[in-house]
């Protein structure tokens, strides 16, 4: 089984007449809130500073997003 990821992929139909170079694999985001259900009590937390910079107190919801430029520079997943 493939490793779990919040980033899903699909392969759109590629036509020989596509005017731009075909993007063979497209990705989309499935955020963590789709998988947690009703949040259980006592989930692991960040400390206050980490939480502020993560945008969430609970680690399970932390889902960093990297823009296309950052990805090109080697950031992201």
């Amino acid at each position: 089984m493939a490793k779990f990821t919040l980033r899903k992929q699909y392969r759109p139909y590629v036509s020989p007449f596509d005017p731009c170079p075909s993007i063979r694999v497209k990705t989309y985001v499935t955020p963590p809130n789709l998988y947690v259900g009703f949040q259980p009590e006592k989930l692991p937390q960040f400390n206050a500073k980490q939480a502020l910079f993560a945008g969430t107190l609970w680690k399970v919801f932390y889902d960093p997003y990297y823009g296309s430029e950052e990805k090109e520079k080697g950031g992201g997943q």
Binding site: E41, L57, W58
Partner: protein, 88 residues
């Protein structure tokens, strides 16, 4: 017009305040849907207390964070002293 430049401590203490207030925002939303989580309420109250102390410390140095009487005023009235949050 003279303009006071903010010292480094302003930004540091502001970030501390933002961090603790963020924990309180997160716990508030969480408790809105988990009103029976005793541990989380304890954590909330502890943070609310620490927040009050930090707010006092901040306001003594840098002026009121809120008005309508939620903060004390210096003399002269210093609520409307710049800078405002979007200017710093």
């Amino acid at each position: 017009m003279s303009q006071k430049e903010l010292p480094k401590e302003f930004y540091e203490m502001m970030e501390e305040l933002q961090a603790i207030d963020f924990v309180l925002v997160e716990l508030t939303l969480y408790l809105d849907t988990h009103p029976d989580d005793f541990e989380a309420i304890e954590q909330f109250n502890e943070n609310a207390h620490a927040r009050q102390i930090l707010k006092q410390k901040f306001e003594q140095q840098f002026g009121p964070l809120q008005q309508y009487g939620n903060s004390y005023s210096g003399y002269p009235w210093n609520w409307d002293d710049p800078p405002w949050p979007w200017q710093i």
